[in-house]
């Protein structure tokens, strides 16, 4: 992609890629709300997610999971969309309750629990 996409365009592209992947298996797929869990709701495996990331890198020219975001913090469609939006608009990282922040808090809490044991 030659020009920087808008937040809405990024969302559309990510949704479209997910729907195309799902359509390969289940035929026609309806609109995504964004709240769907990639694994639990949509049934995507980690390899499916890797394929999505490879396709989105080819289309958008960025890979947010190379450095910016941990793939393990991505649970829902919206998480995935935000990761790509953040790759183009780093200022989004400062938002409260951001995926990365939330994931970091979860990790910190896990570490604290492990230490207490």
């Amino acid at each position: 992609m030659l020009t920087t996409p808008t937040l809405g365009q990024i969302e559309s592209i990510v949704h479209e890629r997910i729907r195309a992947l799902l359509a390969e298996r289940a035929g026609e797929v309806g609109r995504l709300s964004g709240n769907e869990k990639l694994s639990a709701t949509l049934g995507l495996s980690s390899l499916d997610l890797a394929l999505l990331v490879a396709e989105l890198e080819a289309q958008l020219g960025v890979d947010p999971f190379a450095k910016l975001v941990s793939i393990t913090s991505v649970r829902s469609v919206d998480d995935l969309v935000r990761a790509y939006q953040q790759a183009f608009f780093p200022e989004l990282e400062r938002r409260e309750d951001h995926t990365v922040t939330a994931a970091a808090k979860r990790a910190q809490s896990r570490r604290a629990r492990t230490k207490r044991r």
């Binding site: 495996s45 390899l47 890797a50 394929l51 990331v53 490879a54 396709e55 890198e57 080819a58 190379a66």
Partner: protein, 245 residues
């Protein structure tokens, strides 16, 4: 650059086994991308030859992860796809562990293992999209049998075999095969440093009574990347004249 039918990326293709593999893939009508730290006479000849249309080379230091990723992207874009990755680049870090410099240990891990992981990751992106691919990790008999003086080298090569098995399971559902080739002693720059007496001793211990020719190792790689090996994945093919049997 015209798009070749299949494309192989070989790390460390400027000399030895890597150069043999580059030539072999080109003979098999592959497009070939290779990287090395230095531009050897082999690379210069290739860039001047009529086969240069299907040949892509860049000077890349295996310790530079970003440069490795950029090379894969560039090669994939120029040659159109990546069907085969051969993680061949490696350094022989000799010396017993107790007296080895830590920076030499780190360098061996970076070049022999981390670079292979980074290349496999970057190439697998292409292969996932293609729904097919083949990765070969060039391991060593030292991953299987211990030998004094090569502890770090052995560790990196054994790690490659572990990578082969797990990556085969990760990528198998997308028809990407991952295998190791573990060469024994073969005529190469690494072996040329051994004293003649040591080479003779190795030959005596080898059931086939000699060191391998370089093409005998390359043939194993070509077999595993061919359709004849279409149901083989997660394996280590030992090509050592029987020295480990």
């Amino acid at each position: 650059m015209p798009q070749a039918r299949r494309v192989a990326l070989v790390s460390g293709g400027s000399r030895g086994l890597g150069a043999e593999l580059v030539s072999g893939f080109l003979e098999r009508q592959y497009g070939v991308a290779t990287l090395s730290r230095t531009k050897t006479t082999f690379i210069i000849d290739m860039l001047r030859s009529r086969r240069r249309r299907n040949f892509h080379w860049r000077a890349v230091d295996g310790r530079d992860h970003e440069a490795l990723r950029a090379f894969v992207k560039e090669a994939g874009e120029q040659l159109g796809r990546i069907d085969v990755l051969v993680n061949n680049a490696g350094i022989a870090m000799e010396g017993i562990l107790p007296t080895m410099r830590v920076r030499d240990i780190v360098e061996a891990i970076e070049v022999n293992l981390t670079a292979a992981l980074v290349l496999a990751q970057a190439c697998s992106r292409f292969m996932l999209r293609q729904g097919a691919g083949c990765i070969i990790n060039v391991s060593s008999v030292h991953a299987i049998r211990g030998r004094a003086g090569v502890a770090v080298y052995s560790a990196t090569k054994a790690a490659l075999d572990g990578l082969t098995r797990s990556l085969a399971r990760e990528l198998g559902p997308r028809q990407i095969r991952v295998n190791s080739v573990a060469p024994g002693y073969f005529e190469s720059d690494m072996v040329s440093n051994l004293p003649d007496a040591e080479k003779k001793r190795i030959a005596r211990r080898t059931p086939l009574g000699r060191l391998a020719r370089i093409d005998e190792i390359a043939n194993a790689v070509h077999f595993l990347t061919s359709d004849q090996a279409s149901f083989i994945t997660g394996q280590t093919l030992v090509v050592d004249g029987g020295i480990t049997c």
